[in-house]
Symmetry: C2
Subunit: 523 residues, 2 copies
């Protein structure tokens, strides 16, 4: 960490060599397959400023027409892929008397191809935009692009050749990569066509995010985030069943912690594994959930025993954050995640996450027969639950509140339901009331929608859950999703928390859970 | 040539395998050396729109300051070099949570760094502009740029990182390449400091153009042009003495000809050697000069004998272009080179080149004892000379004319002098009159200036020749030349025949001959 400074005071990474080595031994094999584009498409912006394909032309592995200065061709690879692009470019006309200069844009979504990248003014780094400029001194040439891209569309524009020659492209292909094996996924029977399609897209989303670790998004940020990991692992248990990849990620988080052994919000993978200096209270607590789910799925007591101290440490660190009244202290800044809704006060939801995860920790402590820890966890669960009911529950409104202004949000209600602060009947009523009153601070991420669906299913609202899956994730497919997106607001489809939808991730791990719901609860 | 079409009707390349194989065996060893920048500079445009260094800072192989989004650093490598750039970039701050996106500009001249490349509207391909855009996914990284550049200045601009980190550059170097060995060049004694400096820059110019062949310019076009080759070979005989490289280039031109065995204006080197579809009458004739000079320098009769048929073929093809009146037929379009002056009518000068080269051909025929060819050449020399005197000489004006409008240009006079159409006394008088009357159609290239200097030296005007070397090439050095430029007009220093001076070549073969004059005639 020598060359880095951190936003966490006296930040340092604590390394458990044993854990890191175990993770390294579980490095997965990356499976490769060759994908070729089958169409050439032409785009145009419609009256609503959405980019649409307005012309298609079959492209059967042959060569393109001749392209001169200023001309472009856009290849459609049929669906989303993650991988390495190769193409051949040759000159037609007189011998090339100047280099060829190309611009290559790759997009998961059409807007990434259509919009001029230099107009981007968002607040995530423009370096994520998948656009390259390539000089080719010697023609013909095979261009093997060295970076990994996540895309469906690839546009090549000829910025210049010379008046004496044009260029033709041929042998365009992508070596797609993933550590997920599609052959391991059982064919889904007994569901309607819409649901089958949603399942398919969900599986594809998970597939494309499974690389050397569970990445959050293969286009951006390509990191191991624990909030994503938790949902990916759940979906994985019902599809690819790659338990070792979850185990690897658990050991990585456990082996590379922040000060005091706190599990970081995410890990960087290259050039070497390190923990980011971002700490999010809910995310640290989800290490408990990840380990709990893993044990539930595998019954692997060895891993449970070995990683238990790390999980319990997260509980202890969180318990220190509880104020005198028994409620997690509210804070300024980016201290917990919950959802991207910009007005969301996170205190109430984090209180729910705390109770939810302490209960999982307690169950693991029971498996391991740790009476002292069971005792402590019990105390904190009870104290936090009582405090939530006494301090956050607004009997008049019929909702849990959050923060000093008593904000009522969807997220707070959902996490209180998942935490089982109430009885099942009261949970059911609260969920019904949530839909009825529809508090203004709603949800903007598929991630938070996942927890809503989970809460509904666990509280006798399977039909409502199914409706959301079909209306929310299903609508994304109607809107052209090949994989499920990082963000989706049906009421503002170009919404981005980053100031521009060209930087949004259109294949995002935390959106992959419909397959988990469908395969676990709905078939 | 299958994939190429040509501007020459039914163009095809005629290959002499034997010649090409001989050329291949003479492939030179490329010598490498490591060059590191010693300064960081800051530029600004002055009131005359010239880019100037306004701040310098020593850079002794250490690392740069931290650079964030929008910041740039410009390295000065001390002098012109041709080679491959490497640098290391590392992140400072939090771990990099987005790729680094860099723009790298390399310039022989400051204007190439200063001007925004996207404002270029010239008519040579913008693909020659040495500017790259690089995404770096994993930091730290060693960037080994794969293309060869010709430059002195390298600017790296950070287009984006992320708010969480900045970058630092270190270990910046260039592996300079050339097939010329500086150790072979004799130290020059007995000349004044100015002339020594001119010689040094000329030698450096030749050095940087000597690669796998004699290139015209290492930045642009990087090709083997016969007009350049002739002058490079002359300079080489008095400096690097790499006779094999000249021999290689002679065999390449002879082995790869156009229809009817015509020597092309230039050869492309990669991906395989081919002759361009450009034919220039003066350039084809200069094959004769190249072979003649080579024999003069080496006495190598074997090569003379073997390549004579190719040289004689150029004479024959040119003789077919003589009209009924004994004058080379004038033509529209780009049929001869002579000089870049946009108004120049080339007929008169080409008549001079014809007589000049036929005389060289005749001398070679004499060495080879070819009486029939001597006879034919003699006839044509006489006929062309008489025609020049009868049809082109304007007794009233005291100048040779060119074209149907009787244009009087510097180029026509110079080539008539070099062709020795007149006696020495009349040549001297013509040259004096040329300076006195200064016809409007003057010269814009160092290439044409070379032939003026040669004409002056061969006609008792050594002082005037020296004055031109000092005032023309010397003034380029005053204007900041590290190598001699493709183009130089002291009265319009930003002049470019291509619509922008950022595309001009600032290290150009045909400008390297001051060392030849100095070492052959002036010491």
């Amino acid at each position: 960490m020598d060359e880095y400074t951190s936003s966490i005071e006296n930040f340092k990474m604590e390394v458990n060599r044993n854990f890191v080595e175990k993770a390294m031994e579980l490095e997965p094999l990356i499976l490769k397959s060759k994908v070729i584009p089958n169409q050439i498409v032409r785009l145009e912006k419609d009256v609503d400023a959405n980019w649409k394909v307005i012309e298609k032309e079959n492209f059967l592995g042959n060569e393109t027409r001749k392209l001169g200065k200023g001309e472009a061709v856009c290849f459609d690879f049929k669906s989303h892929i993650v991988g390495y692009v190769t193409f051949r470019v040759k000159a037609v006309g007189s011998p090339p008397d100047a280099p060829a200069y190309l611009r290559v844009k790759l997009g998961e979504a059409l807007c990434e191809i259509g919009e001029e990248s230099n107009t981007y003014k968002g607040w995530l780094s423009s370096s994520w935009i998948q656009e390259e400029f390539i000089h080719i001194d010697v023609l013909p040439a095979v261009i093997r692009m060295p970076r990994r891209y996540a895309f469906r569309y690839m546009e090549i524009k000829v910025l210049d050749t010379s008046p004496k020659y044009k260029v033709v492209f041929e042998e365009i292909s992508c070596t797609a990569v993933s550590s997920a094996d599609m052959n391991k996924v059982k064919t889904l029977g007994g569901v309607d066509q819409n649901l089958a399609k949603i399942d398919e897209v969900a599986v594809k989303t998970l597939h494309d995010c499974m690389q050397s670790v569970f990445e959050d998004g293969p286009k951006r940020d390509r990191r191991l985030w624990i909030g994503d990991l938790r949902l990916q692992a759940l979906a994985n248990y019902y599809t690819f069943k790659n338990y070792d990849l979850v185990k690897r990620c658990l050991y990585l988080f456990a082996g590379l912690t922040q000060n005091e052994g706190r599990v970081g919000a995410c890990l960087f993978i290259e050039p070497r594994m390190i923990v980011d200096d971002t700490a999010l209270l809910d995310y640290s607590l989800f290490f408990i959930s990840c380990l709990y789910d893993y044990y539930e799925a595998t019954g692997d007591e060895e891993v449970l025993k070995e990683l238990w101290p790390v999980a319990y440490k997260q509980a202890e660190l969180a318990m220190q954050e509880i104020g005198e009244e028994g409620i997690i202290k509210d804070r300024e800044g980016f201290w917990a995640f919950i959802d991207w809704h910009k007005d969301l006060n996170k205190q109430g939801a984090v209180q729910g996450v705390l109770i939810y995860t302490l209960k999982q920790a307690k169950k693991m402590a029971e498996v391991l027969n740790l009476s002292k820890e069971i005792e402590i966890l019990n105390q904190y669960i009870q104290r936090s639950t009582i405090a939530a009911l006494e301090k956050l529950w607004d009997e008049k409104e019929g909702f849990f509140t959050s923060g000093k202004h008593g904000q009522v949000s969807w997220a707070t209600q959902i996490w209180m339901v998942l935490a089982d602060v109430f009885t099942k009947e009261k949970n059911e009523a609260l969920l019904d009331r949530l839909f009825e009153k529809n508090p203004q601070v709603n949800m903007v991420t598929p991630y938070m929608n996942h927890y809503l669906v989970e809460a509904l299913i666990l509280n006798n609202r399977k039909d409502k859950a199914l409706e959301i899956i079909k209306n929310y994730w299903g609508q994304m497919i109607q809107d052209g999703a090949d994989c499920f997106w990082e963000l989706y607001n049906p009421e503002n489809k170009k919404e981005s928390p980053y100031g521009s939808n060209i930087i949004n991730s259109y294949c995002h791990a935390w959106s992959c859970t419909p397959t988990y719901f469908i395969r676990k609860y709905l078939v």
